[in-house]
Subunit: 355 residues, 2 copies
């Protein structure tokens, strides 16, 4: 029996609904599969926690998480309670950085049974590999002067190490998917960091002679996600560009509510973290309307990462089945509740289909 320890952080808003929903499904999967066990520990870190303790997580929060095999996160943020830059940097980004989760991986593909906003989605199936530790998201910067003369400066910091790491990851993935790698750049407008990005891309690609590559400016690439997503396979981007492209990728699938993400620690020193792309959506919190598919697909990525490929495949089949069969929430045009979707997934898992 393979046993894994998982730190579970539901966080804010609908995170508090979809994380328990995903755990019900994971426990059912554990039971029907019979060859792995997930030991869960829950952490109440969130904006509510902030209100009580003045921080999003305890001072030794990272130490508390360090020994787990993975972190399973819902959503962070409740702007009416705590400003976003405090809640997110205090928890989500704190873990990404504290645990050297340098890579963020997010798939986007067409599903049978879901209507894409695109007229011709053409079975697109792509994977965005995002630099997750630096770049445009930096804590270096500040303001000067005041009144009408005020200026704000924000440094984008790109290191060879981090850029090379994300490129290597993208090319490895390109090799596994036997496809090609597109790099998101903007070296025609952003003239220090982006030419550097391009150089590292060109350097790393020398080691992968079998892989087809292209480099596209982020403006044209964002447009190409809309006009021809089926021409993309692996797409590698900076922290900001990856962020933008993955939200577009999520939208193309029919709803951001189904998109998953993995924050990967590649040096093996710390746990990786799994969290859906969607936010905490406080406006629909507590109504039982949240789409649990994003959190479930995220669980699937976690299982895959832990090495439980069979369980991961079974869960993916269940997700595909339920979507195709039409038990979907409002954001996907259905009228199912969170509970209805969870039940349908569990039924699939316990039915003949898994035998």
């Amino acid at each position: 029996m393979n046993t894994y320890t998982i730190a579970s952080i539901a966080g804010d808003g609908i995170g508090k609904e979809v994380v328990p929903a995903a755990w019900r499904v994971l426990k059912t999967l554990e039971r029907v599969q019979g060859d792995f066990e997930l030991h869960v520990t829950e952490f109440p870190w969130s904006c509510d926690y902030y209100i009580e303790h003045g921080r999003m997580m305890p001072e030794d929060g990272l130490e508390q998480l360090e020994a787990f095999d993975a972190v399973f996160l819902g959503a962070v943020g409740h702007p009416d309670l705590v400003p976003d830059h405090i809640s997110l940097w205090g928890l989500l980004i704190n873990i990404r950085r504290g645990f050297d989760q340098q890579i963020n991986v997010r798939p986007s593909r067409q599903f049978e049974g879901l209507s894409s906003p695109l007229a011709n989605p053409n079975q697109f199936n792509l994977m965005v590999v995002r630099e997750n530790s630096e770049g445009e998201y930096s804590e270096v910067g500040g303001r000067m002067y005041s009144g009408e003369d005020e200026i704000a400066i924000q440094n984008n910091v790109f290191s060879k190490k981090a850029v090379k790491a994300v490129m290597e990851y993208a090319f490895q993935l390109g090799k596994d998917r036997s496809g090609h790698v597109t790099s998101a750049t903007k070296s025609n407008g952003i003239v220090f960091s982006m030419p550097f990005w391009d150089e590292v891309f060109n350097e790393v690609k020398e080691n992968y002679p079998g892989i087809d590559t292209r480099s596209e400016h982020i403006d044209a690439l964002a447009a190409a996600f809309v006009t021809k997503p089926e021409t993309m396979d692996v797409v590698v981007g900076s922290n900001l560009f990856g962020d933008i492209l993955t939200d577009i990728g999520a939208a193309l699938m029919g709803s951001i509510g189904i998109a998953p993400a993995a924050n990967i620690n590649i040096n093996g020193k710390y746990p990786s973290m799994f969290e859906p792309v969607h936010g905490s959506a406080p406006d629909i919190e507590g109504q039982g309307l949240a789409n649990p598919i994003g959190q479930l697909w995220t669980a699937q990525m976690m299982l895959e990462h832990l090495g439980e490929s069979t369980a991961a495949q079974t869960l993916m089949n269940a997700i595909e089945y339920v979507i195709k069969q039409g038990t979907v929430t409002k954001d996907l045009g259905g009228d199912a509740s969170t509970e209805n979707v969870v039940k349908a997934v569990e039924e699939y898992l316990t039915s003949e289909n898994t035998k």
Copy 2:
């Protein structure tokens, strides 16, 4: 008779085809309208010019342009001849900055007769107002260390003056369109420049009590362009965010080949510049396949800016008519040549329709 002097820079690639095409149409319009005159002076500045002179434009290039009423530009860039960051910064961005063209305005709307990549374009009609002089496109930055330790730093510089100017412009436009203004931010991840951006937005909106506003993170906003563009009216963004959103906006229309842009000098000291969103597309240069609609719509924006609203409206009618009637180039699914489209527009202009 109203008379205007126009500096015309065809530039590179298909710029050399669509600019002359637009001039033919403008001259026809001038003739049928009979109440304005455009005096054209052509400038050969381009990558070819660079090869010969070692610069994209003469040292006194800006002085040569200064007295014109407007600059009419095709496209800049030919990466096989001159690296993009040299050609673009040496000509396009040089003019934008040298002439304090702080605002870049780009419309995007659905056209009858064009198929959008969206399944339900819902008659979207929006206008992106982009900060055009600073922000992420800065010349401040550099590199340090070498080999595996190398880092590149790029400063994003946001000034109160420039941010306030673009906000004011957006709110004025929102007022004229009697709609609402959406600000593109990313203050949850980019924690110095974007909270500053938000502050200025909130400050300026106090002076426009009638205008509905929202602030959306760029990732969610880019996704919303795909899922519900019809909910947007005026969208205000930084140099980079505006760049990305306008390419998506262009794609939504059916082809980037039709999208126009105005680079507006707001202090009245220098000419404004009008250039389509598309690039120089060297791959299709010289084949007579380029879509002239982007350059024609750009001409329409120039006429509007010069105060020739009637001529501008007539030209817009001609564009709409020709698109609806189906005389369109390959990028729009048709088989018309540049020449065919120009002829169809000219026929419209000289026909009964203008009487």
